[in-house]
Symmetry: D2
Subunit: 402 residues, 4 copies
Amino acid sequence: MAQPQQSEGAGTGKPPLRVGMVGYAFMGAAHSQGWRTAGRVFDLPLSPELAVICGRNADAVRAAADRHGWAATETDWRALVERDDVDLVDICTPGDSHAEIALAALAAGKHVLCEKPLANTVAEAEAMARAAEEARRRGQSAMVGFNYRRVPAAALARRMVAEGRIGTLRHVRVAYLQDWLVDPGFPLTWRLRREQAGSGSLGDLGAHIVDLAQYLAGELLAGVSALTETFVRERPLPTAPSSGLAAVSAAGTGQVTVDDAALFTGRFASGALASFEATRYATGRKNALRIELNGERGSLAFDLERLNELSYHDGTEPGTHAGFRRILVTEPDHPYLDAWWPPGHGLGYEHTFVHQARDLVHAVAEGRVPEPSFTDGLQVQRVLAAVEESAEKNSVYTPIAA
Amino acid sequence: MAQPQQSEGAGTGKPPLRVGMVGYAFMGAAHSQGWRTAGRVFDLPLSPELAVICGRNADAVRAAADRHGWAATETDWRALVERDDVDLVDICTPGDSHAEIALAALAAGKHVLCEKPLANTVAEAEAMARAAEEARRRGQSAMVGFNYRRVPAAALARRMVAEGRIGTLRHVRVAYLQDWLVDPGFPLTWRLRREQAGSGSLGDLGAHIVDLAQYLAGELLAGVSALTETFVRERPLPTAPSSGLAAVSAAGTGQVTVDDAALFTGRFASGALASFEATRYATGRKNALRIELNGERGSLAFDLERLNELSYHDGTEPGTHAGFRRILVTEPDHPYLDAWWPPGHGLGYEHTFVHQARDLVHAVAEGRVPEPSFTDGLQVQRVLAAVEESAEKNSVYTPIAA
Amino acid sequence: MAQPQQSEGAGTGKPPLRVGMVGYAFMGAAHSQGWRTAGRVFDLPLSPELAVICGRNADAVRAAADRHGWAATETDWRALVERDDVDLVDICTPGDSHAEIALAALAAGKHVLCEKPLANTVAEAEAMARAAEEARRRGQSAMVGFNYRRVPAAALARRMVAEGRIGTLRHVRVAYLQDWLVDPGFPLTWRLRREQAGSGSLGDLGAHIVDLAQYLAGELLAGVSALTETFVRERPLPTAPSSGLAAVSAAGTGQVTVDDAALFTGRFASGALASFEATRYATGRKNALRIELNGERGSLAFDLERLNELSYHDGTEPGTHAGFRRILVTEPDHPYLDAWWPPGHGLGYEHTFVHQARDLVHAVAEGRVPEPSFTDGLQVQRVLAAVEESAEKNSVYTPIAA
Amino acid sequence: MAQPQQSEGAGTGKPPLRVGMVGYAFMGAAHSQGWRTAGRVFDLPLSPELAVICGRNADAVRAAADRHGWAATETDWRALVERDDVDLVDICTPGDSHAEIALAALAAGKHVLCEKPLANTVAEAEAMARAAEEARRRGQSAMVGFNYRRVPAAALARRMVAEGRIGTLRHVRVAYLQDWLVDPGFPLTWRLRREQAGSGSLGDLGAHIVDLAQYLAGELLAGVSALTETFVRERPLPTAPSSGLAAVSAAGTGQVTVDDAALFTGRFASGALASFEATRYATGRKNALRIELNGERGSLAFDLERLNELSYHDGTEPGTHAGFRRILVTEPDHPYLDAWWPPGHGLGYEHTFVHQARDLVHAVAEGRVPEPSFTDGLQVQRVLAAVEESAEKNSVYTPIAA
């Protein structure tokens, strides 16, 4: 194939936003789709370009670059961070490297998009939030990738809460249910090791629902009481991955060092009650993030497995004709929908990354702090830390550090 | 109208089971329907007769007797309990009188059906369970009215769990959501006063879901961590009820002395995790008792608002064709269904009382301890007490007394 | 058991309405439940009494009387019709005997409730409607048993259409799907023989949906175009039924002489379009009567398998928050619901017969023509005849005789 | 912006498939997304390049090219068809120009993708099918764009039918419901004019469901009986579109010359019955394409508004545990899903165009006749013609020409 590659996204006549992405697995593919599509669908002030992709294995990263349309490759994220032709660093690695990469990127003057959870520890997250605030004064933007805020139905729910449609909040109940660990023979991947993943379902799924619950409620949690559990404590080691680490033996087993499930209740600042459940053992539930908010004037409910729908009960209507209505969130005045298809023609999971790219491009161009910011990400981290502390202390109610 | 009345239920040629019922409000109407219908639908060993109904107001109880088909009336439950022509005392009063009536009825040699929760305190429940065990030796039966066990879909779920269809249990999540207290102008009825109701949503709704969760799981809770809340602490006093208590002023307000909502998490003896929510503030949810069980081999889910359906995921099927299936629980080999209508012709809420009557009649005739027994009711009471204790002690995990 | 029996329903101090019922199979059981319960739940002007039940086999009818609570028995419907202690004759037999019994009952001065379809031929139905109109002048009431009008959700839908909530009607689509004939080994019961049943799914299921569609629409069909089919044309003869007809051989097979499925489209008087499907071959659909009406201002949808729910779309709302809402039809101001349970506590199939009894008792007491009248039943019969005519004539559009 | 543009899709090291697209409205945007994405997600034998886009207005087509990523533009489709740097012509114009463009493109040696319906008349479609068969001998591929075959759930349904999972087919019921014409003030766009659109809901929606029903059933319709209607016969003329046609007056009205709704029943070759409804007047239904197939061994159901789900009833299971199951069609062994996201992470409407591009690229590379071919499109056209003929002839059953 001819070199040099021209970046996808070039040629629209707008100033470019040159993206350098670290990591190219599941999140890398999803982010690539987001960067590649955003400027084709939305009218953006900057034109995202898929400039550089980085991974440790040269052949694998080259293949990923070709597959996903990135112009150049790097095998050391430090090199990527220092490149002059990169404006924004997109971090799609496991949580244990988020802090180091993000701090370096901010120091190098780049905008940053960092996958969730922001970090594996509160201390790391604090450093990142501080660095983001300093970088902010230099005009840099830093966003954490809680992409489910960008589901149109979730954004519509947020808008309706902000409009006062459900009134004083009483209850938030939210669960994120998956089932890929039900089989005890599923191997001990990095997501099951504390040193890389930080925590288990808590950081992976729980981080999403804590952010989404607070975002939709428009207020923060004050404290939590938690139970966590590891149902299967030993699992087979994975066979050698494509990265060729010869030291990995396929025969042995290893300890699962993270939670399999986390249940917690909490109080919002306003006094509303909340319940949370994050698990990878809900047999038959594939990606069931479900949230319901009950207020004095109405209720809203959402299920990620039916992501084009929002359920709404208007409590101010006469009871005779009232009921939960299924809003098909595909109307032109619904969030993000003016740029897509006619009513009834639904979107999918990956569109959250297109919308995330869109929102970040606007924030960068307009010099605004993007939402959710690193400070928002830090606050979620503090909730997760309080959950772990409560679980260790016999479920005692544990306030969230301010 | 001519006297003497003949009891409804007479004339079937079977030995009678003469029922004396205390209370004639909502539960009284539902139990009447149960006693009146059970022998018309099921082939019972004894023929239930609606012999005597008791209430404090003579005119009101006479009207209730005519309406519901009871042959005689009493205005003092002590008189009812002593009548020779009563074989079984059915207690449909608020919780504060359960213990006294039940103890007297058992002492008088009667079988007893007592509405849930069994009592307002663990001490009362202990005395009742002891008395029931002693009465058992004299051949008397005593059952507590957790009628939701008698929804055919719930009974089918229990059967499927017992057959091993969901395997090792991992999660039970259950909520009982109503919304009749959302309006702060709703008056301070007896259900909002601790001295009569014992507790609020906890005893009313929470008792049901604790019993149902343990029944379906086939095991007991080991401990709980809880949050409770009273959102609206002062409410208008009710206007004078039909009982004519002149002292009640319509103008004033009074304190709500029970919980409005209770959230708790827990562990089952096997290590499975559970989450519970009972509330009367879930705007738009009218009677939404929802329970889901996830096991290593499958899952089951149920919603009381669609009570003829059971949702089942068979985790042993190939993923390609697997999914939660909606079993319409109206087939002749489903629990209780051989006696009702053809497939697809659903039942309603009140049928749980018909089934409860059927099951109790069989237990009485066969000299078996009915399920759920007073001992089962006592155990639920202990869970509720642990919930209240945990809520008072900063949500600390609180073991259930054995 | 002591004789004489006192009727169920006696003793309420109201003038009695003494019912004599012919037939005691599925419909007999359902009607018994209706007559037994109506006066216990609703405040009726007359007190229904289960006076006499009639069937050809003396032992079987005696057992049915005991089971369902009827005071006396007859083995000849002519004797029942002539009894002085019968005020109303309830006809629950197959369609081939409807006309003869109804005409005799009307001639004998009785009120009549006749199961649907009104008759097996238009000629019979015409005679019945004429006789009912004459009897009407003598103060007698005659109703045909389209019980699904009495599902609260259907009655609410009718009310909402009448209130103009869906505006000018454009579409009615309705299907009644069952699956009990899928197995070619299912025997040739009377419902599959033209001489007894008149037609197959058309008269059994199609009659219901034609009546319901016209009732909800508030207007009549003008014409139809139809396809019918008999998928399995030969079936095993049934084994000897409990009536002991020794001549029936279990070994042979016989011809299915009725339709297995009927599909038809039609035009309403207003120009709205309608589609109908009635089948017993919809594998997995047990009793799925589904109807949807689309009007210029809104839509309504209903599924008998979830009979406590009505789906409503208000087309006048802003699209942003509009959607089909699920009305849980259990509020006190919903049709029939003031007499039942609190919100969210649903009813079942058999309640339609309680409501039917209630409505007929009111019509009798108030001297009104009950709805649906025999004239309404005749009109449905004419639609069914037009369907059969169209099917025979290559589906040509066939007007409904006026 | 710098010239020359490099095509999107270049640089993957694979032989290119250079696409020239005619039309750039709704379908143009959707097809662009399909061509741009297919090679980024699937491992294709050829690399699609967005080479040339064509529209009559130079400025508008230039803007569309920039937006969607096309390298070059044309304002005359004849010029596009003749370009040496175009391998495949993708026709996204209204139906009245399909035949002319397709015939020219095939004559020029191009592969062709033509939007549905294939043509506005059977005669045009016959000419196109003949030309495609001739071009086939020269190695050219021609496909008609029935994209809903490419919904993974629909493709899975087809696979399951082919595997025999539902057995002998008895019923197919299918409706395609939209509501964008409910408002009589909606203007008279080209879709409401016979000379451009050919027909109304019949060709737009009916073509989709005829194709899908036959595809899923695996057999063809033998004949139909039809009703069509135009509810609103006069509508306001559209205001001047952005193309600036000054001759259009906003004040006047014009005749609607197509059907608003079409209902038809039919028989499949095997004797199975089918019912179809296509309408733009189903208030509240936005894009509700619903299809259900009932067979002797099972049933399948699908709703485009929940396109990641397939409902399946296995009729061979014991009734006790049987029920319609909701298969979340997101597993790696589901059609097209190996290339997308983990289980539970759903796709959207536009993915059908990605899959269509993928399938066509494979057919081109492998020299196979793509499905659905122009011959398939012709057969659908014949069904539509039979529907119109039946509707004109008093709904008489009309065989489909072979």
